[in-house]
């Protein structure tokens, strides 16, 4: 009984709590990183006043958001208006339930050390060998990719709902843009993921990483075109420059969140940054070997294993986030119709072609 509770409730709940807190903290400091890095790109310093080099700035900003007045426009659809930020934010968190931060046996050492405090050795063994508890992830779902894909699409619904419920023109235009963007880029994104699936022949993210380990090569070298497309579509999915059309301050004032303030705005804000981390994590998992060290099957590089796998994962995600910010600091913004053109006329055909070629090659060698 105790074991079952541990295996299916306590440990997963603890994991969820840890992941949620870690993600929220990461999001908070991602905003700090973005401000700092953009500052450095633009030969200025970024936040400097709250804490050492502005390290406490995210906390100050968060407090400010909570304290600020929460304004709901008089003619807005109150219910939808209040719930829309959540619709955007929760999917961004849900995705992290299936993202593998480490190998399936990542926590066994920790559990072996902690659990004997409560349990007899036999139960400890059973808990650890249940195959559910030790993984560096919340859950190993065998359709993880489908889950990621469908849940993250829900996030954009939050944007559309928020823009629509504001009953205001600029947010409405922002919402329209984002739905157009979703339609054009989700499709190409799906096809790039499909080509990875063809290579890996599994839908579980954990298995995909393990396949990469077995193959001894990260899939980015197998599927470079898919990766580039995935990255570009990922920028579009997260509404980042050069694809930040739904919010485009200089055109639509703030796009879908023009009418939002205070805490609700903060949630949108969190959702956007959580989305960045999600996309980076998926990219790392699918293409860059997840928690694996570089050259996973080169023996003499074994000393790299001294670094915990979770650190490898985070380092890779960090690189992606850095690139996200770097790109934002460099490129201008696309126009709405150009975005659609690129999406449908270039990225989608390329993604399909890539898929077809992959399929043909796989068929030939299987």
């Amino acid at each position: 009984m105790m074991e079952t509770l541990l295996i299916y409730a306590v440990i997963p709940l603890i994991k969820i709590a840890v992941v949620v807190l870690a993600v929220l903290l990461a999001v908070a400091y991602l905003t700090w990183l973005e401000r700092k890095l953009l500052g450095r790109i633009q030969v200025r310093l970024g936040p400097m006043r709250v804490g050492w080099h502005g390290l406490l700035q995210p906390i100050a900003v968060g407090l400010k958001f909570v304290i600020k007045e929460d304004i709901i426009p008089a003619r807005a659809d109150r219910l939808v208006f209040s719930l829309a930020p959540m619709v955007s934010f929760i999917p961004a968190l849900v995705v992290f339930s299936v993202i593998p931060f480490g190998p399936p046996d990542m926590l066994s050492g920790l559990l072996r050390w902690v659990l004997p405090l409560f349990l007899d050795p036999a139960s400890v063994n059973r808990v650890i060998e249940s195959g559910v508890t030790t993984g560096g992830y919340v859950a190993n779902v065998n359709i993880a990719i489908l889950l990621v894909f469908s849940v993250s699409s829900v996030g954009i619904l939050g944007i559309i709902l928020g823009g629509w419920a504001s009953n205001s023109k600029y947010p409405l235009l922002g919402a329209l843009r984002s739905s157009a963007q979703m339609v054009s880029y989700e499709v190409s994104l799906g096809f790039t993921i499909l080509s990875v699936l063809l290579v890996a022949q599994t839908l579980s993210l954990v298995d995909i990483v393990q396949k990469q380990q077995a193959a001894g090569v990260w899939y980015v070298f197998v599927q470079p075109v898919a990766f580039v497309l995935f990255f570009i579509c990922g920028l579009a999915e997260t509404n980042r420059l050069p694809f930040d059309l739904p919010e485009a301050e200089s055109e639509l004032v703030g796009g879908y969140h023009t009418e939002y303030s205070g805490f609700r705005f903060a949630i949108y804000f969190l959702a956007e940054y959580a989305g960045m981390i999600t996309i980076s994590s998926i990219a790392v998992t699918l293409f860059w070997g997840g928690w694996l060290r570089p050259f996973p099957n080169v023996a003499w590089l074994g000393f790299l294993d001294l670094v915990p796998s979770v650190v490898w994962f985070m380092a890779k995600v960090f690189v992606f986030l850095y690139i996200f910010i770097w790109v934002r600091g460099t490129l201008p913004r696309f126009r709405f119709d150009q975005l659609m053109q690129y999406g449908w006329k270039i990225f989608l055909p390329l993604a399909i072609a890539n898929l077809v070629v992959t399929a043909a090659v796989m068929l030939k060698f299987s």
């Binding site: 633009q42 200025r44 770097w326 600091g329 460099t330």
Partner: protein, 154 residues
């Protein structure tokens, strides 16, 4: 063909990225203003001051009214009485309405004795309009030495 390749391989976008990367790790241009004092030019036209003779401590103003004449906004009022003995004008009061000042410097330009001068103090924010009307005492003291005025840089 080269153009096409440039376009496909996003060469120009990577050039831009290289530039921003280079700047990321170069020297920053920021001046941390409230923490550091800003270096202002000697000619900077900021808060007005009515100068005294450094030796005698008497005002340099000879009440000639030229500054009031020169001011486009008519914000200077010079009041004086004529000393019956020396037949000289003696300054009694001098008001300067900083709320309407253009900081054009025409007053200091016409001043024959360098009495009125626009100094390098620029932190002129106050909490009420009344305190933007400066009287003689205030003008002679100089803005940065007035009590209650917060100087933001240390």
């Amino acid at each position: 063909m080269i153009g096409f390749l440039r376009r496909i391989l996003l060469i120009d976008i990577f050039k831009g990225l290289a530039l921003t990367l280079r700047y990321t790790y170069s020297k920053v241009y920021t001046e941390q203003y409230p923490r550091e004092k800003v270096k202002l030019a000697e000619r900077y036209r900021g808060a007005p001051r009515l100068n005294n003779d450094p030796e005698t401590g008497e005002t340099l103003c000879i009440s000639c009214d030229l500054c009031a004449e020169a001011c486009p906004e008519d914000l200077i009022v010079v009041s004086s009485v004529r000393d019956p003995e020396s037949r000289k004008k003696v300054l009694t009061e001098y008001t300067f309405d900083t709320s309407r000042c253009l900081f054009c410097g025409l007053c200091q330009e016409v001043c024959p004795t360098n009495a009125i001068e626009l100094t390098q103090d620029f932190e002129l924010a106050t909490y009420d309009r009344k305190s933007m009307l400066w009287n003689r005492a205030r003008l002679e003291k100089g803005w940065d030495r007035i009590e209650g005025h917060k100087v933001y840089h240390k």
